[in-house]
């Protein structure tokens, strides 16, 4: 029992289940399968972005530019769709992933080749990418009537009881699990975050691993940009403003250590779902949506405190390991 409680994933599942049960006493129907599927669908984009963020965090980096990347790529895709309605959707999706991956590669290159700390790089590109979205659009909006029906409808189309958006998220979850646990890149990501010195001696190219993690995070942000724009049927400069913090929050809640090297795909997904349940429950139980920000703040702080407790090993620390500094920024 004690060991079961120490398992982050199981603990999160229990907490989420308790939350859903509690909310459904206030709002009957909250726990109905239909509503739960809605919540999952609503959280799909956060799940996808959190998985990209997780990969980056595993390598002891952080990507604060994901939301800005999403805004720029979403604007580019929406404008292309509005200007050339005849282009097939598949082309637009590939284009979104391509642009996103390219923007991610810029982050990765600066981190890899110039060894600039990731937080500085992505703070810079965060403002740059969002500024570029403004330059690209001239501050204008792309509205629903300018987008083609295919562009808008595909992610909503039901398939086997779930919208395609949900299925895309499920596919990405499986893909991320495969990449991180079954491919050399995944091992390298865990190694370069867990103990960089040992990773170098083991022949892992840390810089290259970080670069690839940023490219992956960017590509997922690009994919999410299409999903976001088509879901909300509008593209403007400020879409997803501040969403990068939600992705970090999802990771922290899911038990991914900000110091790198620790975390699982299931954790990130559950962390995102945790936030998704809260977000969907607030209006249902009559709490002002303005309270959401403070609640996620409290949740993040509690999750960090909890993580630190969980990561602390029993016993006394005699010497801290210099090779793996406990705090990184």
């Amino acid at each position: 029992m004690n060991r079961l409680l120490k398992n982050r994933e199981i603990l999160l599942i229990v907490i989420i289940a308790i939350m859903v049960a509690a909310f459904s006493t206030r709002a009957p129907g909250f726990a109905s399968p239909g509503n739960l599927a809605n919540i999952f669908n609503d959280t799909s984009i956060l799940i996808i972005l959190a998985l990209g963020q997780m990969t980056v965090i595993l390598t002891k980096s952080i990507d604060l530019s994901v939301a800005a990347n999403l805004a720029f790529t979403g604007m580019a895709v929406a404008m292309t769709n509005a200007a050339y309605p005849d282009l097939p959707l598949a082309f637009l999706i590939v284009m979104a992933i391509g642009i996103g991956a390219f923007l991610g590669a810029i982050n990765g290159f600066l981190v890899w080749a110039l060894q600039i700390p990731p937080i500085v790089v992505t703070l810079g590109t965060l403002t740059i990418y969002r500024g570029m979205a403004f330059v690209l659009s001239g501050g204008g909006w792309v509205n629903a009537h300018q987008m083609t029906p295919t562009f808008l409808n595909v992610p909503r189309m039901p398939m086997l009881g779930l919208p395609i958006l949900s299925w895309i998220a499920i596919l990405i979850v499986i893909g991320a699990w495969f990449v991180l646990t079954r491919l050399p890149f995944g091992r390298a990501a865990y190694a370069s975050g867990g103990n960089p010195t040992a990773a170098v001696y083991a022949g892992v190219d840390i810089g290259r691993t970080r670069f690839l993690a940023f490219v992956l995070s960017g590509a997922l942000a690009g994919l999410s940009s299409y999903l976001w724009v088509s879901r909300y049927a509008v593209a403007y400069v400020d879409i997803a403003a501040g969403f990068e913090l939600d992705t970090v929050a999802a990771c922290v809640i899911g038990g991914i250590s900000i110091a790198g090297g620790i975390g699982s795909v299931a954790g990130a997904v559950l962390g995102a779902l945790f936030l998704g349940v809260i977000k969907n429950a607030l209006p249902v139980i009559g709490i002002s949506p303005f309270a959401q920000m403070a609640i996620s703040g409290i949740v993040i702080v509690l999750a960090v405190v909890f993580n630190a407790r969980a990561e602390k090993k029993a016993g006394r620390i005699i010497l801290r390991n210099r090779a793996a500094p406990e705090v990184t920024a």
């Binding site: 980096s61 110039l114 810079g124 500024g131 010195t197 303005f290 702080v301």
Partner: protein
Amino acid sequence: MNDVATTKRVIPDRLGTKTSRMLASWEILLLGVAVLIFIFNSFASPYFLNAWNLSDATFNFTEKAMIAFAMALLVIAGEIDLSVAAIIALASTAMGAAAQAGIGTPGLVAIGICTGLVCGAFNGLLVAGLRLPSIVVTIGTMSLFRGISYIILGDQAYGKYPDSFAYFGQGYVAWVFSFEFVLFIVLAIAFAILLHATNFGRQIYVIGNNEFAARFSGIPVERVKFILFLLTGLMAGVASVCLTSRLGSTRPSIAQGWELEIVTMVVLGGVSILGGAGTIAGVVIAAFVMGLVTFGLGLLNVPGIVMSIFVGLLLIITIAVPIITRRIREMSR
């Protein structure tokens, strides 16, 4: 990102003369950039070279710079505080609520500053007391502090501040020198003394360079970090007083995104984001550089969000250039 295995520690054969070292220093380089921008601006816009316009331009950076001083100490000690802009919002909301209740100017200032101190103490407690990583803690408290503002204000705004309260953001001490600018100078001197001429300042550098060694040298690492967070909260409170007084109103979205600009200012000022190095002089010059860039672009009718592209580029380029030049120098050796 301290990859011990890949860091090279080279001890040069010759240190060079004192003047040559000074000329190559980051602060001098930055000063050169500031002068260039100044000259460029005065050619680009006929409205630039005017004492009152330049005085107005200082408002672009004085409030941010006040926080940047404290943030610089924090970054040198190897920590960071991303919640500063949210502290401004919360302090401003507290002052707004107090002003509606009819509290006078001295009370408002006290409330603003105390809110900042409480927020800073909360961050300090989490980071120094519980030994949590500051970057995630302050991302969390950033949502928390601003979230409380949103709960209190929603989509409303506070106005109606007493007339005498306007002095902090709109008053002038003498001629074109605003209260904020004078305060900025005073704080710059105070922080420079604190960092460069006191034991406490030395301790900050030691912690940033090698926390491990600092502990063994008997430096109260946790206490120093706590004080630094307290100081950062205090400066955010002071900045909030100035900003609220200048704008004359409070919305929960006040100072949105400032944390990035403040970190940019600190890093642009030559403070190492990895900790252990940096000067207040650098931050002061960086404040001027950023203020001049945004003001010059503003005179040229460049929209704010496009300016942020320049700020982002400035941040990355100023960090990348020394790295690239060092790389080239190493290769040609």
